[in-house]
């Protein structure tokens, strides 16, 4: 039915275009001087039909699901939902949905079958209603649009106003996304903090979120102190930066000052490849190669290394960050005015001295900005740590131990069963909010530093 509604809309739009263009063209043939070309009259009509009807279909599709399921759940017999929690109610709703889709497991209660039948009926009604609405609205708009055709009618202005409106809408999608992120994180975190006090979350040193979802599951008692989790994140980030910053800096310095043009042309793209490798690949590399190698090396020296050692995740993350740091450093060095460099060389400084004593100090703000962005990358990086880091949160800073991170916890808490009334699920959103706040803060700071630095030499 949805497809039919879209087809109908498409047909109405084309009809509106043809109708008005033909009408305008015939006016022009009769010798009237038109303000706008006939195609604009057509385009105006097409947009007048297309935009509102499209919006109606979109809203309809977005809200039909929630509305129908509310109707179905509201129409259940008295008493069947009494005393059930939110999670159980949503399980029942899911069961009714799957019965309606034809997947019946066992013998459900008759009221569930009835509800499923009602669900199917309501969906069919909604589909028919949508098509009828689309048809009626299209006809009305088609009629209204047809009446606008006149020599002095400024169809081009109309079209351009509507197009401008579309463009403005496009540019606000970014705002809507940010608002969506902020609101959903705040809302779910708020739900979480009603179940777990915010002080426990912020200052607790125990993180054992695997609490039972159903009564028959055996799991821990649950503790939601995020300190060990953020500590693990910090440990891995520090390892990643300790490896990637020197490598990134020195390679950028070499490329910027000493490398021949041909070497630059080869090395830079190769470094870029490191940035283009998907992080799931790095994660697998860490598990497949780096962690076993580290363990073997540890065994050689008699040092016990955990299979999920932070060292493996951190050093592989470092590979990902190298191109990031080297390209920011390269940009920052390149932005230092030539005059400074020439001045130093003219005094008889070697190129190495010029680099270390003039260019590098001058570029430090830009480099720091780049490193900060790398930090925020490292904190927010997910797949490498999900695959290579551990799951158990421990208060340790030993890089040979297994640690867990914020992103690992978010993913593991949300893979599998999710129900939105459980502190386990909601905890992921609270962690997500902390992650968002921290990375946003670092990003804003970093971008400000980088921009200030650029202005300095522009």
């Amino acid at each position: 039915m949805t497809l039919f509604a879209f087809a109908l809309l498409f047909a109405a739009t084309v009809a509106a275009y043809m109708l008005n263009r033909a009408a305008a063209a015939s006016l022009a043939r009769r010798g009237e001087r038109l303000h706008s070309l006939a195609t604009f009259h057509g385009g105006f009509a097409a947009l007048v039909v297309l935009l509102p009807v499209f919006l109606v279909i979109l809203l309809w599709l977005l809200f039909q699901g929630p509305v129908i399921s509310a109707l179905v759940m509201g129409g259940l017999p008295e008493g069947v939902l009494d005393g059930l929690g939110k999670g159980e109610v949503s399980l029942i709703a899911a069961e009714i949905q799957s019965i309606a889709a034809g997947q019946v497991f066992g013998t459900p209660e008759p009221w569930k079958l009835e509800a499923a039948e009602r669900l199917v009926r309501l969906r069919a009604t909604s589909g028919t209603l949508l098509v009828v609405t689309v048809a009626a609205l299209s006809v009305v708009l088609l009629f209204l649009a047809r009446r606008t055709v006149a020599p002095e009618f400024r169809a081009r202005h109309g079209v351009e106003r509507m197009v401008l409106g579309i463009l403005v809408f496009c540019s606000t999608v970014a705002i809507f996304t940010t608002v969506g992120i902020v609101l959903s994180l705040i809302y779910e975190s708020w739900q979480f903090f009603r179940l777990v006090p915010i002080t426990e979350f912020l200052f607790g040193t125990n993180w054992e979120p695997q609490i039972p979802i159903r009564a028959d599951q055996i799991a821990g008692a649950g503790a939601f102190g995020w300190l060990p989790v953020i500590l693990g994140t910090v440990v891995i980030t520090v390892i990643a930066l300790a490896v990637s910053v020197p490598i990134g800096l020195f390679s950028a310095i070499y490329l910027n000052e000493f490398a021949s043009r041909r070497m630059r042309a080869v090395v830079k793209p190769v470094l870029e490849i490191l940035a283009g490798v998907p992080t799931v690949v790095y994660g697998f590399f860490a598990v497949l190669t780096v962690a076993p190698a580290l363990r073997a090396a540890g065994a050689e020296f008699g040092i016990p290394i955990s299979p999920n050692t932070a060292l493996a995740a951190g050093s592989v993350m470092a590979i990902m960050l190298i191109p990031f740091i080297s390209s920011f450093t390269d940009d920052a060095l390149a932005a230092v005015p030539r005059a400074l460099r020439d001045g130093s060389l003219a005094l008889g400084a070697t190129r190495g001295e010029t680099m270390l004593k003039v260019l590098f100090p001058a570029a430090i703000p830009g480099i720091v900005g780049g490193i900060l962005l790398a930090v925020s990358r490292a904190i927010g990086e997910t797949m490498i740590v999900v695959m290579a880091a551990g799951l158990i949160a421990t208060m340790t800073i030993n890089p040979l131990d297994s640690v867990t991170t914020v992103t690992v916890q978010i993913v593991t808490l949300l893979i599998g069963d999710t129900s939105f009334d459980n502190p386990k699920t909601l905890a992921a959103f609270a962690l997500g909010m902390m992650l968002f706040i921290v990375t946003l803060g670092i990003n804003i700071l970093a971008l400000r530093i980088v921009r200030k630095y650029r202005e300095l030499y522009d």
């Binding site: 038109l34 070309l37 202005h157």
Partner: protein, 265 residues
């Protein structure tokens, strides 16, 4: 300045095409054009001269509302084309620009074929009813711009492949293809070599038969060669406006005299 070739020419007509009264232009805080009154005659070449930054280009761009495209630019006063205030709310700048064409300092053909360059204006304004119509407009415009003979065999080749002088004549052809009544030229020869400049100047003189031409130029020799009337701008003021011969040989204002004799500029 005895070497200026001042030839007396008949001014085509005394009919006023554009009448500007009390025009002021502001860019944000700065006052670029101060209270300018000017009458531009039909079928006449009018030259705007003056030192750099005197506002002559700014004023030229007021005549087809190209200044509208600059964010913080504000124009007050009245400019009338055939008695119609072009800054009136009912006037669509887009239609105005079809009436008042413009040629820019640097030749700026679209990176399309020669044909499409010339046909672009007629197409968007719906001036041609058929392909044949359009072909005719393109040919006529290229002929008037004295480019037909050079371009007729390569109409489907990109306009950017022409030489600088040809490109500028293509831009002129493009401007006259919408059959404007006024043609504004903003230093049309400043990017051209002397031979191309001579060709374009000759063309301007021919265009006078059909259009009212307004040309901004740095070169006083050029103003003297091609124009019948000359306006001298200085620091945003219109200092002197009159017949070209009179302005160059017998300026009324001391500032004009200083500029012409090379003391300011």
């Amino acid at each position: 300045m005895e070497d200026l070739r001042l030839t007396e020419r008949l001014v085509g007509t005394d009919e006023v095409k554009i009448q500007a009264r009390g025009v002021n232009v502001y860019y944000g805080e700065s006052h670029a054009i101060k209270d300018v009154d000017v009458d531009i005659l039909d079928k006449t070449v009018t030259a705007f001269i003056g030192p750099s930054g005197c506002g002559k280009s700014t004023f030229l761009r007021c005549l087809n509302r190209m200044n509208d495209t600059i964010d913080n630019c504000r124009v007050t006063g009245s400019i009338r084309l055939d008695g119609q205030d072009i800054y009136d709310r009912s006037v669509d700048p887009v239609q105005l620009r079809a009436q008042v064409g413009m040629v820019f300092q640097k030749p700026n053909p679209f990176p399309k074929s020669i044909y499409d360059n010339v046909a672009y204006g007629p197409r968007i304004h719906g001036l041609a009813r058929s392909k044949a119509d359009l072909d005719e407009i393109v040919e006529k415009s290229l002929r008037r711009a004295a480019l037909w003979n050079e371009a007729k065999d390569r109409l489907d080749q990109p306009g950017t492949g022409l030489s600088g002088g040809q490109q500028q004549r293509l831009c002129i052809a493009r401007a006259i293809a919408t059959s404007p009544e006024v043609l504004l030229m903003d230093e049309p020869c400043s990017a051209l070599d002397p031979i191309a400049t001579a060709q374009v100047e000759e063309l301007i003189d021919e265009l006078r038969a059909n259009f009212s031409v307004v040309i901004v130029t740095h070169s006083m020799q050029q103003a003297a060669r091609v124009s019948q009337r000359t306006a001298f701008f200085h620091l945003g003021n219109l200092v002197e406006y009159g017949e070209t011969g009179q302005v160059f040989t017998n300026p009324r204002d001391p500032r004009t005299e200083s500029y012409i004799t090379g003391r300011i500029g």
